[in-house]
C-alpha cells in the first residue's frame, strides 16, 4: 500500500506502484457497489465540490455518485450557472469554494494545467476530471482496472488506441498509465491526428489500421472530438469511418479475444459499428461501472493522503 498524495492531478507523475494501489483499492469499492447497501461512511462529513467548467455528463455523474456512496456532501458547480459568466477568475472561484471549507474540488476545465494551478492556490484536495487535451487520470485508471479485470494482467499486453489522439486527454493519460504498467501501446489514426511525436511517450505510431489492430489484445477507440478541433483535420467523417472505423470486416482480422473499449460517448456508425459496440467483446458499459469504483478509490486514497506519512499506522 503506498499512497501519500493529497491530489490526483495526472498519471504522468504517478509510479506504477501508486497506479496499482488505486486499482487494488478500487476492487474493494467495486464490491461495495454490488451490495444491497451501496454506501460506506468513509467520507462522512466531508464536502466535495464538482467544479465542471467544461460540459460533462458521464464523468460528473460518476464522480457525484462516487462521492455520495462515500457519504460525502456534494455540491455541483457548472459553467451554465456560474460566476465565470460574470467575469470571475478560476482562482477567485476556487478561493470562494475553499472559504466554504470544501475538502475536495473535482475540476473539469478546458485549459490544460488548471487542476495543477488550483492545487497551488487552495488547500482543498484537487482531483483532475479532465483538463484540456492534457490528462484525464480517472479515465485511464478505470481503463487499466477494466483491462486487468478482464485479462488478469496488463504487462505484456498489446494495446491499440485508435482515433483522435492529438486532442485526447484520455489517450495521453492512458499512454502514461499503460506504459508504466508494462503494456505495449500502439497509436493509430489519420496522420494529422496521430503525429509521430507521440513516439516520445514510449509508444508506437502507425497509420495503417489493419496492422495496428491485428495483434492487439485491447482495441481502445476514441471519439473524434469536433469541439477541440480548430480546423478540419481530415476530409470528412465518412472518409474517417471508411479508413479508420471499426467494422465487422476489420474486427474479423483481430485476435478473437481482443477487447473493445471506448471512453464514451460513442458515435455509432462513425468510429465504431453499432453491432460491435453491443457485442460480447465490447466492455464499454463495464468501463462505466468500473469508473464509479475507481473514483471512489481515488477519493478514499486522496483523503488519507492529506495526513503526513509518519503518522500512518
Amino acid at each position: 500500500m503506498s499512497w501519500h498524495r493529497k491530489h490526483l492531478l495526472d498519471i504522468e507523475s504517478l509510479s506504477a506502484e501508486e497506479i496499482l494501489t488505486v486499482l487494488d483499492t478500487a476492487r474493494g469499492f467495486k464490491a461495495v457497489g454490488e451490495r444491497a447497501i451501496k454506501k460506506v461512511p468513509a467520507l462522512r462529513g466531508k464536502t466535495v465540490i464538482n467544479l465542471f467548467v467544461e460540459p460533462s455528463t458521464r464523468t460528473r455523474i460518476s464522480f457525484e455518485l462516487a462521492e455520495q456512496r462515500l457519504s460525502a456532501d456534494v455540491i455541483n458547480f457548472s459553467t451554465e450557472a456560474s460566476s465565470f459568466k460574470k467575469g470571475e477568475t478560476l482562482k477567485d472561484t476556487a478561493k470562494n469554494l475553499e472559504a466554504l471549507n470544501a475538502d475536495f474540488i473535482i475540476i473539469r476545465h478546458g485549459a490544460s494545467g488548471a487542476p495543477h494551478f488550483l492545487s497551488r492556490v487552495v488547500n482543498s484536495s484537487i482531483i483532475n476530471a479532465g483538463d484540456g487535451a492534457h490528462e484525464h487520470p480517472t479515465q485511464a485508471l478505470l481503463d487499466a482496472f477494466t483491462i486487468r479485470e478482464r485479462k488478469g494482467k496488463i504487462a505484456g499486453l498489446n494495446v491499440t488506441i485508435l482515433g483522435d489522439i492529438l486532442y485526447s486527454r484520455v489517450a495521453r493519460s492512458n499512454i502514461w498509465a499503460l506504459t508504466k504498467l508494462g503494456a505495449k501501446v500502439t497509436l493509430c489514426g489519420p496522420s494529422t491526428l496521430v503525429p509521430k511525436t507521440f513516439e516520445q511517450m514510449g509508444c508506437r505510431v502507425t497509420h495503417d489500421v489493419e496492422e495496428a489492430i491485428r495483434e492487439a489484445d485491447i482495441i481502445h477507440l476514441l471519439r473524434i472530438q469536433h469541439e477541440r478541433q480548430r480546423k478540419t483535420m481530415f476530409p470528412s467523417i465518412g472518409e474517417y469511418t471508411s479508413l479508420f472505423g471499426l467494422n465487422q470486416a476489420r474486427l474479423a482480422k483481430t485476435k478473437p479475444d481482443a477487447l473493445i473499449m471506448h471512453p464514451g460517448p460513442i458515435n455509432r456508425g462513425v468510429e465504431i459499428d453499432s453491432e460491435i459496440a453491443d457485442c460480447e467483446r465490447s466492455v464499454i458499459l463495464q468501463q462505466v461501472t468500473n469508473g464509479l469504483a475507481v473514483r471512489m478509490a481515488v477519493l478514499y486514497l486522496v483523503n488519507g493522503g492529506k495526513v503526513a506519512p509518519e503518522t500512518a499506522g
Binding site: W3, T25, V32, A42, Y300, T311
Partner: protein, 178 residues
Amino acid sequence: MSDTTVILDAVAIQRALTRIAHEIAERNLNGREVALVGIPAVGDHLAFRLGKFLAEIWKHPVHVGSLDVSMHRDDLDHRAAPTVHPTHVPFDVTGKTVVLVDDVLFTGRTTRAAMDALNDFGRPKYIQLAVLVDRGHRELPIKADFVGKNVPTRANEKVFVRLTEDKHAMDEVVLGKK
C-alpha cells in the same frame, strides 16, 4: 528485531484456536445459526481455521466470511488510507449469531468499525467477538467473548500475528517494538 518475544508458538496457536472453537460451540448450542466473520488481513485466516474446527465439532459445514472494515474506520482523517481488503460474506447475516474474528484486540476501534460494517449486510441476532490475543489498552467499551491469550503490553509495543497463510515459515505471535 532483537528485542522481540514470542508470545505464542505454532502449537500454542493451534491449542488456543481449538479451545476457542469449543467455547464457541459451548456458548452456541445450535451451530446452524452461527457464522464466523473474520477481519482481514489476519482475522479472516483465523475465522477459516475456526470454521474447520467447528465443522468437526458440529458435524456440518459452518458459514465463514471476511469483512473489510477500512471504509468504516473512525480514524480515516488521521492516517494514510488503510489497505482495502476483499469482503466476502456469502450468506445472510440477518437473524444469525455472527462471531467476529480478529487477530489482536487493542483499542477496540476495529471491532467498532466491524460492527458498523456488518450492519450493511443485515441485522445479526447476536454479535460475539473472538480474538487470538487481547493486549489491553481499550479506548471503547468493547470486550471479547473468546480470547486465545491475554497479553499485557505497553502502548509503544506491537503484536505481530504471523501465519503460514500469509507465507510465513511458521505460525507465531510475536511482541515487538513499533
